[in-house]
Symmetry: C2
Subunit: 152 residues, 2 copies
DNA sequence: GCTTGACCTCAACCATAGTTGAGGTTTTAG
DNA sequence: CTAAAACCTCAACTATGGTTGAGGTCAAGC
């Protein structure tokens, strides 16, 4: 089961939703969801079934990449809204987008590296005394009025 | 407003919820939420108001750090469950936990780096043709039956 | 001793990212 | 022609991580 139609090429080079699901690894329910959000689109048969042109696979793959990066769907939509739904995005457009996403990815990496440095410092210093620890005192704390933890 | 009680040290070295909120930067509603989840605890006054011993600030700060790393609260709870609620965690316990979390952080970093490499390669190669692109073809795809995108 | 800000509980709601199920229709294979 | 697989819509539900509001209480200062 699950193969009868999905595994053979549709006429007219249009793909049924199950076929798209198999090829992209995205659940059918998610494809429906993305369509409701306007991230992807399909044409319909006379019987109201979805058919996807092949270039939609590209769009969906891009979406999956964005998700891997941690880009929220709303942000993906903003980018996708600048790319016509009815065609493959141009190389230029994809370059622009991929550079943008890569920048976001690198920001996330920088944030992680900073946290790593902080936590590593913390492991070394025995920060639990909550003295001058960057990790436990992100900038603002250290209760000015306290008879609190001895401040050195 | 917001200062009358919160800005002065409570008697008996116990902190009211508003004071804890100010010092940790965590919203009062979130503190209530964390308490419902069993992540933190408080003693109550005769009038049923929460009072926090100072060491609870430490627990909350740890929680905030974990959130920054992206650790789900359920995972934080698992760790916290091994640390007595009624005392400062030992240096040992914190070392163990922080090393664990650091490992998770580094895993996330590795994933990001791989994606970065993939997306960078993709920018260079003009992957939109969906040929042999690692980014657009994560391992499994490339529709075996297709008269699909020309496969070189 | 009373006012006012801080606090309480509980239920409902928000966003994100979907999944699940009911009830019904379409398409394809035999 | 018919059975089965795949599809359809719509509403409700899941999980995570909280916030908001209603309705009422507590505690500190004047």
């Amino acid at each position: 089961m699950g193969e009868s139609r999905a595994s053979q090429p549709s006429p007219d080079d249009l793909l049924a939703v199950g076929e798209v699901s198999e090829r992209t690894g995205v659940a059918v329910s998610a494809l429906h969801y993305y369509e409701r959000l306007g991230l992807i689109a399909s044409v319909r048969t006379d019987g109201n079934q979805r058919r996807y042109p092949r270039h939609m696979l590209r769009r969906i793959s891009l979406l999956v990449v964005a998700k891997r990066i941690g880009i929220p769907l709303a942000d993906v939509k903003e980018v996708f809204d600048t790319i016509p739904l009815d065609a493959t995005p141009t190389h230029q457009a994809w370059q622009h987008t991929s550079r943008l996403w890569r920048e976001q990815l690198r920001e996330r990496k920088r944030a992680i590296e900073q946290l790593d440095a902080e936590i590593t410092g913390c492991i070394g210093c025995g920060c639990l005394s909550m003295k001058a620890c960057a990790l436990l005192n992100p900038g603002d704390l250290l209760g000015e009025t306290g008879q609190g933890p001895r401040r050195l």
